[in-house]
């Protein structure tokens, strides 16, 4: 749900990083946080377990710049990927403007990717949203690992609607900003129609 405030001249949008456990959602946010100038970002909030697994969500506000006199602010969230955190994962999707699905490219995580993607579509539907109508990007993460599935095969399995597919290594930052840019552009393009 985009929030437009004429008094503070701000447009706020919500982007959610979704995907199976340990696919690199938090790593995406951490890289964005580490690489962004202090004046463009707020704090990175991580509600994590003692073992650094996301318990509820990670959150960081990011200011991209000004268009037509309005500051564009993106609120970036991750969901907990582990299957048993289903209830809290669903809560984070409420009011989402754009989704990034972070897929783990490793062969042994293919089933987890498919299950998580199915779970995303189901949870979106519960709020009355349709993945097919939502700004959406597929990120193929961990491309640096030896046991990865070819990107064409992964795309064939996971791409839903011709969305942008971006190869990434979130730990080094490769593809991280390309992913963010791809989803943010779609969100802003949607605003044009409003």
């Amino acid at each position: 749900m985009t929030f437009i405030n004429y008094a503070s001249r701000e447009i706020n949008c919500k982007i959610v990083y979704y995907g199976p456990g340990l696919c690199g959602k938090t790593t995406n946010l951490q890289y964005i946080y580490d690489s962004t100038a202090p004046q463009a970002k707020g704090k990175l909030i991580s509600l994590a377990t003692e073992a650094d697994r996301t318990l509820f969500f990670d959150f960081m506000p990011l200011e991209l710049g000004t268009v037509r006199g309005f500051k564009t602010r993106f609120h970036l969230y991750t969901v907990p990927g582990q299957v048993f955190y289903e209830a809290s994962r669903k809560l984070i999707l409420k009011g989402v403007d754009g989704v990034v699905f972070v897929a783990d490219s490793q062969e042994e995580r293919m089933d987890a990717n498919i299950e998580s993607l199915y779970n995303l579509e189901e949870n979106l539907r519960a709020y009355g949203y349709e993945l097919m109508k939502l700004p959406y990007v597929l990120q193929l993460n961990k491309r640096d690992l030896p046991n990865v599935i070819g990107s064409q095969d992964l795309t064939h399995e996971l791409q839903r609607k011709g969305e942008p597919v971006i190869e990434a290594v979130a730990s080094t930052g490769a593809g991280v900003f390309d992913t963010l840019k791809a989803v943010a552009k779609q969100v802003l393009t949607e605003l044009r129609k409003s």
């Binding site: 749900m1 985009t2 929030f3 437009i4 405030n5 004429y6 008094a7 503070s8 447009i11 706020n12 919500k14 707020g42 704090k43 909030i45 509600l47 509820f56 969500f57 959150f59 506000p61 991209l64 710049g65 268009v67 037509r68 006199g69 309005f70 564009t72 609120h75 969230y77 209830a87 809290s88 809560l91 984070i92 409420k94 009011g95 989402v96 403007d97 709020y127 009355g128 949203y129 939502l134 840019k181 943010a184 552009k185 969100v187 802003l188 393009t189 949607e190 605003l191 044009r192 129609k193 409003s194």
Partner: protein
């Protein structure tokens, strides 16, 4: 977009700020924050200091969402108020339709007073937000700033300055 945007026009914003100022005074609170249930901060009034109200807003929304989830598990629709009492500072949250009213207070006030004053203002806030939602949905107030935005304008956000 998932559903229509919420558009807060300046006159509405100033009306909301005035309501928050009144609540802060009446409840002797340190700070009053109005937050959308999705975690967006709408307005704030009071002693800000170095407080990160953006993070506060997102955590409050997460807090309400989590307790709302628990409420449903036990057969309740939601918990309309939440209170967190600390040694020096406390937070009271009221769920008012699609917005959350956060009052941060210390020993200059009390939970009872904050609860009472929050409840007294909740009807007016709910009414204002219903009107804002109706205005946003109907497009009253003219076209939005991003209406007809060009690809070049969008691209300019991603180009190095």
């Amino acid at each position: 977009m998932t559903n229509s945007s919420i558009v807060l026009r300046e006159s509405r914003y100033h009306h909301i700020k005035a309501m928050l100022a009144r609540l802060r005074l009446d409840s002797s609170a340190r700070l009053v924050v109005l937050v959308d249930k999705d975690g967006q901060q709408i307005a704030v009034h009071g002693e800000l200091g170095n407080l990160d109200t953006t993070s506060l807003a997102s955590l409050a929304a997460g807090n309400v969402a989590a307790t709302g989830g628990m409420a449903k598990l036990i057969g309740e629709n939601e918990f309309p108020t939440l209170s967190h009492e600390g040694e020096k500072e406390s937070i009271h949250i009221s769920v008012i339709g699609r917005v959350l009213l956060l009052v941060v207070f210390d020993d200059r006030s009390s939970l009872g007073l904050v609860k009472l004053r929050s409840k007294q203002i909740s009807h007016e806030l709910a009414k204002t937000f219903t009107e804002i939602e109706e205005e946003s949905a109907s497009g009253a107030g003219g076209p939005l700033p991003f209406n007809g935005i060009t690809d070049e304008e969008i691209d300019s956000l991603f180009s190095p300055a």
